[in-house]
């Protein structure tokens, strides 16, 4: 196996989150998730729908950050159509999270009290609706006790405990899939939907992940290593999907 960088490993882990999704809209937020979703479409999930980030569905796999790249538009997807699709359910979003907790509650709104935050962030955006309507994954490029917290300041994306408390209408389509970080891949495949360590990236110890996590993680008896990119995946990443190396930059700046 040839050498790969951390951003390439993470992009493959993001791609894996979309494996088996079929003919749905993949909505990756952020650079590495965008690279991952395009890689999934270029390889094992060819039926995925992707937008150009504006209002077009694009049939071909475009490079990230190349505005004038050739584009085969297969459909119109303005925000109103996206909103319809969110509630319809044929979508899988991969969002960021300034904070996430043990049951997958996410915060992108603000740090500190809602009434007068210490740091105002984006706002709720589509997170409340996304999380109770269709599959959701997260990309957190800096795994630390600042982002993996015992309790999020504001619940924007809904976790398992909060969905259960809200009742069957909230749990019916609620599906938290993966959390990809710079250290590991996590999921919620536990009886009560608590976060579980799924794999650690090469060179990262289970203890490193535990230390960087501000709540109790479910750790299986044996934790595999996150799979490395194949040669063909590396070729696609370097030559087709991320020729400018934007994934590296996203990891470096976080």
């Amino acid at each position: 196996m040839s050498d790969h960088t951390l951003d390439e490993l993470c992009a493959v882990a993001c791609a894996e989150a979309f494996r088996g999704d079929g003919e749905i809209l993949a909505s990756p937020i952020g650079v590495v998730p965008s690279i991952g979703a395009r890689l999934a479409k270029a390889t094992f999930s060819p039926d995925l729908l992707l937008t150009d980030g504006v209002a077009s569905l694009v049939a071909n796999v475009m490079p990230v950050g190349v505005d004038d790249a050739p584009k085969v538009v297969e459909g119109w997807m303005p925000y109103r159509a996206i909103f319809d699709l969110v509630w319809h359910g044929r979508r899988h979003v991969m969002m960021g999270a300034t904070q996430i907790d043990r049951y997958g509650n996410q915060n992108i709104a603000c740090i500190g009290p809602l009434e007068r935050p210490k740091a105002q962030l984006l706002g709720m955006r589509g997170a409340p609706g996304n999380t109770v309507c269709h599959p959701t994954s997260y990309w957190i490029p800096q795994h630390s006790t600042r982002s993996f917290v015992a309790k999020v300041d504001v619940v924007t994306g809904v976790g398992h405990d909060r969905a259960r408390a809200a009742g069957p209408a909230a749990t019916r389509f609620h599906a938290l899939r993966r959390v990809v970080t710079n250290l590991a891949v996590l999921d919620f495949e536990t009886p009560d939907g608590a976060m579980r360590l799924r794999s650690v990236h090469p060179g990262v110890g289970v203890d490193d992940v535990v230390k960087a996590t501000g709540f109790e993680l479910t750790i299986p008896a044996s934790v595999p290593t996150t799979r490395a990119p194949t040669d063909e995946e590396l070729r696609l990443l370097r030559e087709v999907i991320d020729p400018k190396g934007l994934g590296k930059r996203e990891l470096a700046t976080k």
């Binding site: 504006v54 209002a55 077009s56 303005p78 925000y79 109103r80 909103f83 969110v86 509630w87 709104a109 603000c110 809602l114 009434e115 007068r116 935050p117 210490k118 740091a119 105002q120 962030l121 984006l122 706002g123 709720m124 955006r125 589509g126 997170a127 409340p128 609706g129 999380t131 109770v132 309507c133 504001v154 619940v155 924007t156 994306g157 809904v158 976790g159 909060r162 969905a163 408390a165 809200a166 009742g167 069957p168 209408a169 909230a170 019916r172 389509f173």
Partner: protein
Amino acid sequence: MADKRITEDDVVAELTDGMTIGIGGWGSRRKPMSLVRAIARSSLRDLTIVAYGGPDIGLLCALGKVRKAVYGFVSLDSIPLEPHFRLARQAGAIEAVEMDEGMLQWGLYAASLRLPFLPTRAGLGSDVFRSMPGLKTVRSPYDDGEELVAVPALPLDVALVHVHRADAAGNGQLLGPDPFFDDLFCMAAKKRFVSCEQLVETADFPKHGPLQTQRIHRAMVDGVVEAKRGAHFTSCDPDYGRDEAFQRIYAATAGDPAAFAAFKARYLDAPTHADYLKAVDER
């Protein structure tokens, strides 16, 4: 047909303190900035602004015009966090109602259909309920019995939107890739004002775009302002993109009172849209 052509200042003359004003566009895209600046120049205050927020909310917060903001997000797109809005929030200067983006659409849609609420799953289990203390759920009367969020209607006193082409009667044409929710803002409001890149003859709309681009009709509009580059510095594709360099200048004035005062004097205090454009082009 009535001639509805007016100026930015005529629009402001229709507004009063404390009004709820909905602003079309999305983030830093196709915002009616010449109208927003006219509000900025006025003595208006205590406004409630409802928007998919961008520099409209940020600018009006920076000038102390906003009592309450209702939004799904406030962003400059290429600068993810709107710095002026952040400062206002962190100073506790405004009341904030944070909603899910789809809930905001639903609130406007309910108002435009004259319904008290519309149901949705969006918001269940989230802190939207903390941000909107009066928010209630509603149980489906059918066999499923699902307990859903009842998004209250968001009626507006005024809607302000910017379109690509319009005629003097108030018919509007949206030529960009995304119409956003501008029609809903108009239909949710008592008074509706549209600015446009270019006034055209009614018969000429087909020369500019296909029938489906004629999204705004005159029963949705009370006044039309011609404002070429009226969305500047936000994007107005395909007529022009975002002026990223100018947006960076605007953003950099946040938290620097002297810089903001200079920005205000040079650009925001320009008495007309034409004067503003002159200052922009001479920078």
